[in-house]
């Protein structure tokens, strides 16, 4: 962790002079081989070093207060304090505090060459540049700034690591829980799904043997897919109730099958009379249909919960993110054909990833966008999907090369206050019929992206909503 700040010119110039004047005497250089200890913690040290070549690392272990004891483990644990490379000064504190005792153990990481001054060194050009201490003020400032930066970087890296740890712990718990639930539910739901089919099929056969109209009514109920609005259906039912003097439930069933007088004539009086007395066969068919829709819904939940839990991921090297985007679009062909899709798939570095997981991420985001645009009746619905890559300079802890996928739509804005919430399990804005949202889509996205140590950015306004996913090409390796 070499920390060299981009110092301003007026600080760098005096540093260059100091290095030239005080640290270019070949007689005052020392060489250390990689692994060699330059100075021990607490060892006497009268030198101020400048690193000319190589790299070194400083460790420190807790010092026991005289008269007290410390657990052995704590007393012997070494913590890395800093790393330094060419241009860095070492033993600054020991030298200028006149304590002449190193507070760290300093070890050469590579073959290292150091130049030094010591407490006998005289000030050069004192008339022009002032006393030795005065001349070395830029070094002190440089050191102070470096230490400040070090503390910040360490704290930030630690915080980031803790956040990732917390998330991955939560994900692991959720994973175990959901895998258990999915397993238990799978069998139960499987029984319901298959038996419903079986019962419906046989019921229809039995009914057909007995009475053609009854099996027909059952079939109408079973196949009912009318999306007529409740109020409209109510009006039709009321019309039949009055015009045909029918009981309310029978009229309602008839309204599902026969929407207007013209169709009524086509079906004929025999059929209508039959409905009046046997409408419950339609209801029976409709019940079977509801059972099946509900079972299908449950199957969907089980599948989603399984995905939420993860676990079955097989990640391979050399995955092209564009392939996963294309797969996702192919899966959603039917839904995508009603809108305009613009793609800009720039070549990207390859990822180590599970293709199906990536496809799942894109599908969930795209599906949500489609639903939102459909629900809001967005005029000229358009989606834009783009891939790119970038290099990130930031905390040492984080990977530097990322692949970016951004998915935009011109649907309604996502209110600022729910930007975080939408990634929580069980949050949904969709609630219509049994086909309503599970509230799991985006939490699956979050879990999957997290598992790649990626990030999700969401920006949304009246004209455009964009989900941006950044996935690192290399996986995290922790601090050093």
């Amino acid at each position: 962790m070499s920390v060299l700040l981009p110092l301003p010119e007026h600080v760098l110039e005096p540093l260059e002079r100091l290095n030239r004047v005080y640290f270019s005497d070949a007689g005052r250089t020392v060489d250390f081989a990689a692994g060699e200890v330059i100075v021990d913690q607490g060892e006497e040290c009268h030198r101020l070093y400048l690193v000319l070549e190589g790299a070194l690392v400083a460790y420190r272990q807790a010092e026991s207060v005289p008269g007290t004891e410390m657990p052995v483990e704590v007393a012997t644990r070494k913590h890395e304090v800093f790393r330094a490379g060419p241009g860095s000064y070492v033993c600054v504190q020991a030298f200028f505090s006149r304590a002449f005792r190193s507070s760290n153990e300093i070890v050469a990481l590579e073959d290292t060459r150091l130049a030094y001054v010591d407490d006998t060194t005289e000030a050069v050009d004192a008339e022009q540049y002032g006393s030795f201490e005065h001349q070395f003020i830029p070094v002190l400032i440089h050191e102070l700034a470096a230490r400040n930066m070090r503390i910040f970087t360490n704290a930030a890296a630690k915080e980031e690591a803790q956040r990732l740890l917390h998330r991955s712990e939560m994900a692991a718990t959720l994973g175990q829980l959901s895998a258990g639930i999915a397993h238990e539910l799978n069998n139960a739901v499987g029984v319901i799904t298959r038996r419903t089919e079986f019962v419906a099929e046989h019921l229809e056969k039995f009914l057909a043997e007995d009475n053609k109209y009854n099996s027909q009514l059952f079939r109408y109920g079973y196949d009912d897919t009318s999306f007529t609005a409740a109020s409209e259906l109510r009006a039709i039912a009321r019309k039949w109730e009055r015009e045909l003097n029918m009981p309310q439930p029978a009229a309602k069933v008839l309204a599902h099958i026969i929407p207007d007088t013209k169709t009524l004539v086509k079906f004929g009086p025999d059929f209508v009379k039959h409905v009046r007395n046997n409408y419950s066969f339609w209801e029976l068919g409709h019940d079977m249909r509801d059972l099946q829709v509900a079972a299908k819904h449950a199957t969907g939940i089980v599948r989603a919960v399984k995905l939420l839990g993860g676990g079955n991921s097989t990640r391979q090297e050399g995955v092209d993110v564009r392939e996963s985007v294309n797969d996702a679009m192919n899966l959603l062909t039917n839904k995508l054909k009603h809108i305009t899709v613009e793609t800009e798939l720039a070549p990207c570095p390859l990822l180590t990833a599970d293709l199906t997981e990536l496809v799942q991420i894109w599908t969930n985001i795209i599906k949500n966008a489609l639903d939102a645009m459909q629900h809001a009746n967005t005029p000229a619905p358009t989606m834009r999907i783009a891939t790119s890559s970038f290099q990130a300079e930031g905390l040492d802890l984080l990977p530097t090369e990322y692949v970016r996928v951004s998915i935009s739509n011109n649907g309604p804005a996502i209110p600022e206050e729910i930007h975080e919430k939408i990634f929580h399990p069980n949050f949904t804005t969709k609630k219509l019929g049994l086909d309503f949202g599970l509230g799991l889509g985006l939490s699956i996205v979050r879990r999957l992206v997290d598992s790649y140590n990626g990030t999700i950015e969401l920006s949304s306004n009246e004209t455009e909503t964009t989900f941006t996913i950044n996935l690192p090409t290399t996986q995290i390796h922790g601090n050093n």
């Binding site: 609005a229 409740a230 109020s231 109510r234 009981p247 309310q248 439930p249 209801e283 409709h286 509801d290 829709v293 509900a294 609630k431 219509l432 019929g433 049994l434 309503f436």
Partner: protein, 157 residues
């Protein structure tokens, strides 16, 4: 004879069908109506009122897309034409705050949790129906088979 309506409100047709089916023993003395949401229910009530009929009970789901059950029941409670209408919240997802609002603003008469049992639902609805009929001064003798006897006797004593 006047028509007394019970309106069930739910945005999920499948749930609505189940409630309606469970309440069918009340028919044909009582008329069952369904509404798919708050707006739909208010329109329906408007229509029933203009036909000169009664709304005895509104049974509403809580979580619905455009507005929730508590808001609907509060509107019903504030409408003097439906001052005697009994209000039931039938829900699996009401929060603590929803429940407080339902009591304070919606003046609900009962809170039924999903999933419900037909017997219980019917018993509650019969009780509320009995209270509605007695409060409205409707001749209860016509409705004996759908009334809750203990409530009836307690009130008439």
């Amino acid at each position: 004879m006047e028509t007394i309506n019970i309106i069930c409100v739910d945005d999920q047709q499948e749930v609505l069908d189940s409630v309606m089916r469970d309440l069918r023993p009340l028919t044909p003395l009582i008329r069952l109506e369904e509404a798919s949401g708050v707006e739909d229910c208010l329109n329906l009530m408007e229509q029933i009122d203009s036909d000169g009929d009664f709304v005895g009970i509104v049974i509403s789901d809580q979580v619905m897309p455009e507005a929730n059950g508590t808001e609907l029941l509060a509107k019903v409670a504030a409408d003097r034409r439906f001052a005697k209408t009994r209000k039931v919240l039938l829900t699996g997802q009401a929060t603590h705050a929803d429940t407080i609002n339902a009591i304070n603003d919606g003046h609900i008469d009962n809170y039924i949790e999903k999933p419900w049992q037909q017997e219980k639902l019917l018993a509650i609805v019969k009780k509320l129906l009995t209270l509605y009929i007695l409060d409205s001064g409707i001749d209860h003798k016509e409705y004996m088979s759908v009334l809750d006897q203990p409530t009836l006797f307690a009130k008439l004593r």
